[in-house]
Amino acid sequence: MLVAKPAEPHNLVVRGARVLDPGEGIDGELDVRIDDGMISELGSRLDTNAHRIVDGDGLVLAPAFVDPHVHLRTPGREDEETIASGTKAAAAGGFCAILAMPNTDPIVDSSAVLGSLIETARLEAEVPVGFLAAISKGQSGAELTEMVELAEGGAAGFSDDGMPVTAPGLMRRALQYGAAAGRPLAVHCEEPTLSRGGQMHEGAVSAELGLTGYPSVAESVMVERDLALAAYEQRPLHVLHVSARESVDAVRAAQAAGVGATAEVTPHHLCLTDEAVRSLDSNLKMNPPLRSADDRGALVEALRDGTIQAIATDHAPHARHEKEVPFEAAPFGVTGLETAFAALWTHLVEPGLIRLETLLERMSSGPAAIYGLRVPRIAPGEPANLVLLDLRSSRRIEERGFRSRSANSWLLGERLTGNVRLTVAAGRVVHES
């Protein structure tokens, strides 16, 4: 399901790092040896087997990250991102696996398009990448895609991300028929007649700025509807990029009622509120929009208590000329692969809002489990999927220096602490700094 370009696995010893794998219950200063891309041994003063040694002194070695939600813009907008550039960005962000959304041009709604993407990924993906296919043909919300054939062709899941599945009847059919495909269903929850023309969260800030409001309820009524359908059909459902307190409440209630509901949240919704939009910076325009401080608090709480299992960047590259327009004319979306960990370390962990262990889990095992991907673990016999983190050094986020082809980051100009020093994905060193 995940594909990358074939390459020789590496041999390596990471020496003296604080090894932190919450899932394995490991937290201690250890050496980790990798033989032929597999973790072979953990311990003190390991025999290096004449491998290359990486000094981990003062650094944290953790399971590498998994991003369940990126836009690679391929096919169709290779000027904004390619599989090569997007996976390089992922490597720089500490990710060992990413999942790409199907809202490309053409849309990934047939095994022909999916097959050609997988072929391209075999030639150029630096880190393993999986592709979701659309729920409906052309993401038009009218007819189901050939979900079984797409699943057999390697689709990692199904989503009409970017667009809601508006008709409840079709959503129900997707839940029913999706069972035969056996891959997760992920929904972008937005009631279009409530969000129409919406530019930002509806509230005091939108009232003052005059930007058309996109109310929380436009998201939460769809979350509630989709979870009601999932409950009725007794099918699991993954809710993409939740932004509102009411949506979190709906997911929590569904989980309590025994529905297999999972949810993800983006770094920008965890770090910012609608107050940031006062700058009218088009790099603060995204869908769903940044919401109130109360919503942000609910998201952080849900991340902490596990109602939200995954952090997803919703990395959405845009050409510079398309963002260098008045706020109202700009497209939705911001990049995130290369800044996710640093943003969350700086804005959530350092101020004490969540623990580092929680962050690491929600960026790695949480998203992997939702899509049934192999969970990155630091244990002998496991493939090496590791990230070496420097929690002390800081850097200023600038347009130069992104591996992504686009630089529409919400963090431009900001100084962040927490750098990715080394990424090992599927047994290979894919990033070093």
Binding site: R196, G197, Q199, E202, G203, A204, V205, S206, A207, E208, L209, G210, L211, T212, G213, P215, C271, L272, T273, E275, A276, V277, R278, S279, L280, D281, S282, L284, A293, R296, H321, E324, V325, P326, F327, E328, A329, A330, H347, W410, L412, G413, E414
Partner: protein, 331 residues
């Protein structure tokens, strides 16, 4: 002829280095507003002279760029610049490279290459003035950006009120109509709040933005509430901004019947303002528009003076309090 200078004791010395703009009333302090109104009053006296032109901004260049139709605002900015002896250039979207699909950024870069001192911009999209700030070295005056702000309109309205009532403090203004789509309302509510006036917004529930009270006003859907105000400020029913099928009001007929400003809904002698252009018979009864109590023509005259004051202030005196724009603040 000697240079007629506006002299005020508290006039701040010219500031160099920091580039100032007028994008939003929220960038101003009360002191800024009082200084601008005082400057406008001085210009009122100077315009009573036979020789109306002042040499103050000789050699300066003011470029007006209008992407939306406008009579009052564009003409008064142009005349304001000319009265102060600045060179002016006015560009309308129609007939310019904009017709050929040129982006706002490229238009701004092109105009910026002439090194204008001030760019006055009107644009249908929120954030347009900000983009010009980022793209050129000129002082930027926002002459209306979408539903966001129209700060010089608010300043001329304050000037009009001050002239009429001799004070702004504790004045009660009822703003009636389509507040949701009105940049005029947003700027005016902020400006009136800054000078400690009281504001009540009145209109259909669908056209009062949720959360508007946080700007420092009261809100009601009851048209009878206007009787308690010193001034009734009537907003234009912005038909061109009504998205089709959005159902803000079922019909203009019903709007007029319920929220139209008619003689019967006003107290004797109650003052009425309107930013223009009016839809007579929709939001304002023609009898109200033509009555002696309407300050609508006074507003137009105040527009010239206030815009002169803004240009003068940006180019010669202290800050029109625009803070350095930070990218954004992380909560």
């Amino acid at each position: 002829m000697t240079d007629i200078r506006v002299v005020r004791d508290d006039l701040l010395p010219p500031r160099t280095g920091e580039r100032r703009h007028l994008i939003s009333i929220s960038d101003l302090t009360r002191d800024d507003i009082e200084r601008l109104l005082a400057t406008a009053r001085s210009f009122a006296r100077s315009l009573e002279r036979e020789m109306k032109k002042l040499p103050t901004l000789r050699g300066r260049t003011v470029v007006n760029v209008f992407y939306e139709s406008s009579t009052r605002t564009s003409s008064s900015f142009e005349l304001a610049a000319k009265r102060l002896s600045a060179d002016t250039m006015s560009i309308k979207a129609a007939g310019s490279a904009v017709d050929k699909g040129e982006s706002l950024k490229d238009t701004a870069l092109t105009l910026g290459a002439y090194d204008p001192d001030v760019i006055v911009i009107r644009h249908p999209q929120i954030g347009a003035a900000q983009l010009v700030v980022q793209t050129t070295r000129a002082h930027v005056v926002n002459a209306g950006d979408g539903k966001h702000q129209h700060p010089t309109q608010a300043l001329l309205d304050l000037y009009t009120l001050q002239e009429e009532f001799g004070r702004l403090d504790a004045l009660h203004v009822a703003i009636v109509g389509d507040v949701l789509h009105s940049r005029v309302a947003r700027s005016l509510i902020q400006a009136l709040a800054l000078v400690d006036a009281r504001v009540t917004v009145v209109g259909p529930p669908t056209l009062i933005p949720r959360g508007i009270e946080a700007m420092g006003c009261e809100s009601t859907t009851e048209i009878d509430a206007i009787a308690a105000a010193d001034v009734v400020y009537v907003l234009r029913m912005q038909r061109e901004r009504m998205q089709e099928g959005a159902n803000y009001v079922p019909s203009l007929r019903e709007y007029t019947a319920r929220w139209g400003v008619t003689p019967g809904r006003l107290r004797e002698g109650q003052k009425v303002m309107h930013p223009g252009p009016m839809n007579r018979g929709v939001e304002i009864d023609p009898r109200v528009a033509d009555a002696a109590d309407a300050l609508i023509e006074t507003q137009v005259r105040a527009g010239l003076l206030t815009r002169m004051a803004v240009l003068y202030d940006l180019l010669t005196t202290g800050p029109v309090g625009v803070k350095a724009q930070t990218l954004h603040e992380v909560a």
